[in-house]
């Protein structure tokens, strides 16, 4: 078996573990933790999509991953600006 193939699967498993940890972290008390956790989940899903798309020859996987990274960033920053409120 190819070593690159195995290491890609190892990264996907690690990404799943990170997603579970981020879901747990997003359930903590503070609202900012929810924001951070959701941001981590989106980014982890984007990287997992890149790897799985390369393994199984999915179409448009790179475009969807780019959209996830970019719009995840926009959504996180927008929510953070609203959460911060106006400067007094």
């Amino acid at each position: 078996m190819d070593i690159l193939f195995i290491s890609k699967y190892i990264v996907v498993i690690a990404l799943i573990i990170v997603m579970l940890a981020a879901l747990r972290a997003s359930a903590y008390k503070s609202t900012s933790m929810g924001l951070l956790g959701s941001s981590i989940v989106v980014n982890a899903f984007a990287v997992a999509l890149l790897i799985v798309g390369g393994l199984y020859n999915l179409e448009f996987y790179r475009d969807i991953s780019l959209a996830l990274i970019f719009f995840g960033f926009v959504g996180t920053v927008a929510f953070a600006v609203v959460l911060g409120g106006d400067e007094k």
Binding site: V11, L20, L36, V77
Partner: protein, 140 residues
């Protein structure tokens, strides 16, 4: 050869991801400034993602992610500091410090402010910082 380098990068990324997942969950509840610590751990995960993207050959996406990730961390930390951190720690902002009046080096804050304000008696009488202007007449 390239395959080995790629797989080494991917395994390093996987190890960093697992370390960040353990850190994200295992930080104690009573730790001081825990949200900032978790944002720091998220930064480790971002770098692991960038290494993984380089490992699978997506250099452009890795570059974009490398630019965008610090903005996310800063936005979340700034939002927490401006709102929740201040509201939860109002008591810490109004700490009264007791200073001995006769201490030779440490002076009360109010006394120093009154001392340095523009209307203080000391600055009025102090003429060390007076500004003189020298007028040069070219005809002479």
């Amino acid at each position: 050869m390239i395959e080995y380098i790629q797989s080494i990068l991917l395994i390093i990324a996987a190890i960093l991801m697992i370390i960040s997942a353990i850190g994200l969950v295992s930080l104690g509840k009573d730790t001081k400034n825990i949200v900032y610590a978790r944002i720091h751990i998220a930064g480790l995960f971002d770098i692991a993602c960038i290494i993984a993207m380089i490992g699978i050959g997506q250099y452009l996406l890795a570059g974009i992610y490398f630019i965008l990730a610090p903005f996310i961390a800063h936005a979340v930390a700034n939002a927490y500091w401006k709102k929740e951190d201040r509201e939860n720690n109002v008591d810490l902002q109004n700490v009264e410090v007791v200073v001995d009046e006769n201490h030779p080096f440490i002076h009360p804050k109010e006394k120093m402010r009154a001392f340095e304000s523009e209307n203080s008696e000391k600055l009025k009488t102090d003429d060390r910082f007076s500004v003189t202007t020298l007028e040069i007449n070219e005809d002479e």
